[in-house]
Symmetry: C2
Subunit: 564 residues, 2 copies
């Protein structure tokens, strides 16, 4: 193939433009064309929720590059409003419709790139055509949503789906003064990304911020007024007012073109690509939200519709279009999202959902994000998951007002490279009081897992303790905090006993040797110490509640302790 | 050895208490004693500069645990004011002096732990005994420094040594209203931790913050007044006023006890330990600032006096004292420090100093720490170093007001696990606009190195360009920014030519094909694009200046461009 090959790219969002720019840098003489059906190219899609909320003031901030720039700087033709109708692999051309002129046009290619992205799922609910039932996917969607929320006419916003977009938009709507309700068929926010123990804390936080949450509710349809405006969202057991509805139950890869052209489609509905991001036709590459990725922990395929992944794909494809042989290894299922002042991040496998083939062991610790004596130190809740047999790290989930993204990225790196908890525990992470304690939260989490693996730490989960209390089980819930801490917030139950840690050694006679004892404190540091003390003194049926009071997502009692 | 073994720990700062606490959790019956010569145990030494500056208000915040706590909670005896004089390995005991009573006392041990830390270096300068010539190592030093700076009587502070303590204290003194000068015999701040290209930027920033810097200056002595107060610091070619002097030229491991006892001492002056942190006597462990560590990149020994390392040592020793066999693999030479609003971090090898045995290839990029359209986005300067032959990551240096510690920690993890730039480039790092761009700065840095390794990117350093300009070399310094950017700040020289990137393809006739061309822009993104365009058009003698204007540590011209 000559130097002046024809490269044709379908899709002008993230992967497409990145592909074209990368290819240009390596092939000065190729003819490169991007066909985009919308009116914009190279849009910062991930910034749209912040534009809707007004955090980003101008929509111009979201337009990264204009077609002129591609032409002038890189000699890349960007054709907007050009909807591709079909791919003729034999003839090596595509048929496209110019939306403005309604004329059809053919485009030849030597190499074709499919970067058609994904589309929001819209189930066939009755009433789904009512006005102000919107999705957020394209630039035009963002403008429509911003116009709606700034109109001053709306009061009730309903978000269907508590995924990443749903969460970002819950903040955006709330900040815009709308009463916001999230309806989710599963039982906590970001239910596919986070385990219940973390998810319940996120739910608590969202409620504190004024977001209403309806879990375990399935939408059945919509009711409108005489003018065709949405008025109510109907559910199986409920219905609520709505002046605007955002459908945010996920996206589907746009694979129709690829499928019609006979390219291989995977079981998850994305285009099948190999490590070079070639489709089943070696002259056609695909990348971005429309393809399936390899999960680097399990080796299984997964969908990973992320702007970061799309950009990486684009670079790999651009290199390979120009005769290179670059590879994209896969993804880790990482995500991070800011929800009000919470940083919410995860990577790898969940404990509950994805650890088939592994025997998971976890750490669940509330911990200060920097030295706890340093002003501005904030709590985070860290969950790390490893394989009990090998100690291999499998995943992590972290939320809170403190620094989260850093720890997620360290876990991403460690898991990608096959590290164990032993390696994590001794990583020479950067330390100074404005950034962490002398032991970073990740060191602490790794050591909790090591203590559990070696049998030194016995733990029970907050959920298990809640069930033990609710079912009236016979045990001692030993709180080893100071009386003033206990007074302020405690788990009120018949099983509760307060013995501050410094008094414990002198008060062992209060605790029967054969009793089932669950210890807790504020964060579990003292509880672990108490556990060691009790086991040293011969108690055998003792464990501490992981996460203690800070990790307890249920009600606590904040009334003064009754004097007896 | 029985369950009730005697464990004796010398030193009560970081490693000692951590060792004792860990040992107790695993050996309920051991008799554990800590001997500390000072009046405090378990002090947050790393927080002291912030206490001196008033960022941390109360000295109580620095006292992590009191002796009572060790006794009541962990049944550990902490004896303060107890200076160990010698170790009798044959008799398995140590001889100590009770500083208050001046009585000597022997302490038996089955297992001994040496955690004696380090001491500030104080060269034999004439006048070093003058009042207000201080060091910062112990809690009492911090109290003395705080009392001095809050006395209102001091005006001129001089810090000798631009290392980590020197930098933290430069901020602390300046914040306290003192005119602060740092004297350093080498040529930029943190000279052993950072290369010159980063170091010059840090120097510029410190000067902007009002800190005076005297580089290449060696102190020769001190002059005082009649009352014995420090008044002037004398140097080879200079002398300056001083009301208070902080000596911060590093620390020496405290190894006298170990050496006198015949334990092996390494070439760098620290106690020699194996991976179990055993000294040359299997009944004696050592950890913290007094031992030598293994550098995980080079395999060579290094000193790593860090609170984080000391704590990790403590956990390993505590485990092994209790019959375990835990190992400490080594360190990466990581450090991070907050200097005013700059975050300043590094890990692994420097380009200039430590890469013997490697052919280093580097990336040097100014980059926004989050999506550049996201409010609050801040610049950081990222340097990543890899081995040109293998692509293996070797080190990183990052400074700026944006997020730094996260990227350093990812590099620490990647380097520890032997990752290459290819792996770094495709890590599934957490992405959302409040945290980074779709390509994280580390992805960009990895890709710059890959572009250099593959021959796609030719670069020259800012220092080289500065020399080319100063020596009047014949070349074109092609600035491809917009005219308004050029107007605001530019490198003024005869070689400078402005052709904005969008106009470049149309103006190639202005650039002779055989000319030596160095391209620059704001951050180097457009310069790299221009390089590709020029090479595509047949230019062969072209490179871009890495870092461009944001990476240029020398003077820029901000005067209006003269109309010709």
């Amino acid at each position: 193939m000559g130097k002046d090959i024809k490269i044709l790219v379908i899709g002008g969002s993230a992967c497409g433009p990145k592909t074209a720019a990368r290819a240009r840098r390596r092939t000065p003489d190729a003819k490169i064309t991007i066909l985009e059906q919308g009116q914009y190219v190279s849009i910062a899609t991930c910034g749209m929720p912040y534009y809707i909320s007004g955090v980003i003031e101008s929509e111009k901030s979201l337009i990264i590059k204009r077609p002129d720039y591609f032409k002038d700087v890189m000699d890349i033709d960007v054709l907007l409003g050009m909807r591709v109708l079909s791919i003729n692999r034999k003839a090596h051309n595509v048929q496209a419709l110019n939306i403005k002129t309604n004329e059809q046009q053919d485009f030849e290619y030597d190499k074709l790139v499919i970067a058609t992205g994904g589309s929001p799922k819209i189930p066939p609910f009755p009433g789904k055509e009512l006005k102000n039932i919107l999705t957020l996917s394209k630039f035009e969607d963002a403008v429509a949503l911003r116009n709606a929320v700034t109109s001053g006419k709306l009061k009730h916003a309903v978000i269907i789906g508590a995924g990443l977009i749903g969460m970002e938009m819950a903040e955006a709507f709330t900040r815009s003064g709308l009463e916001t309700t999230v309806v989710e068929s599963l039982n906590w926010p970001l239910p596919t990304l986070f385990d219940k123990d973390i998810g319940l804390h996120l739910a608590k936080y969202l409620r504190e911020k004024g977001v209403k949450l309806l879990f375990g509710e399935r939408v059945t349809g919509f009711e409108g007024d005489n003018e065709g405006n949405i008025k109510r969202v109907l559910m199986q057991n409920n219905s609520i007012d709505a002046d605007i509805v955002l459908m945010a139950i996920g996206t589907t890869p746009n694979v129709k073109l690829a499928k019609d052209a006979g390219l291989a489609i995977g079981a998850l509905g994305g285009i099948t690509v190999n490590q070079y991001l070639e489709t089943s036709d070696p002259d056609i590459y695909a990348g971005g939200d429309c393809v399936e990725n390899t999960n680097l922990v399990t080796g299984n395929k997964m969908l990973a519709p992320m702007g970061s992944t799309a950009n990486k794909h684009g670079r790999v494809i651009g290199t390979n279009l120009a005769g290179g042989r670059d590879t994209f290894p896969g993804v880790m299922g990482t995500s991070v999202v800011k929800i009000f002042d919470y940083n919410v991040g995860r990577t790898g496998l969940n404990e509950a959902q994805y650890t088939t083939g592994f025997a998971p062991v976890t750490a669940f610790i509330p911990v200060a994000d920097r030295a706890n004596y340093f002003p501005g130190s904030k709590e985070i809740l860290v969950k790390v998951i490893a394989d009990r047999t090998t100690g291999r790290l499998l995943g992590g989930q972290i939320i809170g007002e403190g620094e989260v993204a850093k720890r997620i990225d360290v876990l991403v790196t460690a898991i990608t490279l096959g590290a164990t908890v032993d390696t994590l525990a001794n990583l020479d992470l950067a330390y100074a009081p404005p950034y962490n304690g002398a032991m970073d939260p990740l060191h602490n989490a790794a050591n909790v897992i090591r203590n559990k693996m070696s049998g030194l730490a016995q733990t029970v989960t907050t959920e298990k303790v809640k069930n033990m209390i609710d079912s009236g089980e016979e045990f001692i819930l030993l709180d080893v905090r100071n009386p003033d801490e206990f007074e302020k917030a405690r788990i009120e139950c018949n099983q509760s006993v307060l013995i501050p840690l410094p008094d414990l050694r002198q008060n062992l006679e209060k605790l029967p040797k054969e009793a089932r004892i669950v210890v807790l404190c504020r964060s579990s540091i003292r509880a672990f110490q108490a556990l060691c003390t009790l086991r040293g003194a011969g108690y055998r049926n003792v464990a501490f509640m992981e996460g203690s009071i800070l990790g307890w997502p249920y009600e606590v009692c904040t009334m003064p302790v009754e004097k007896k």
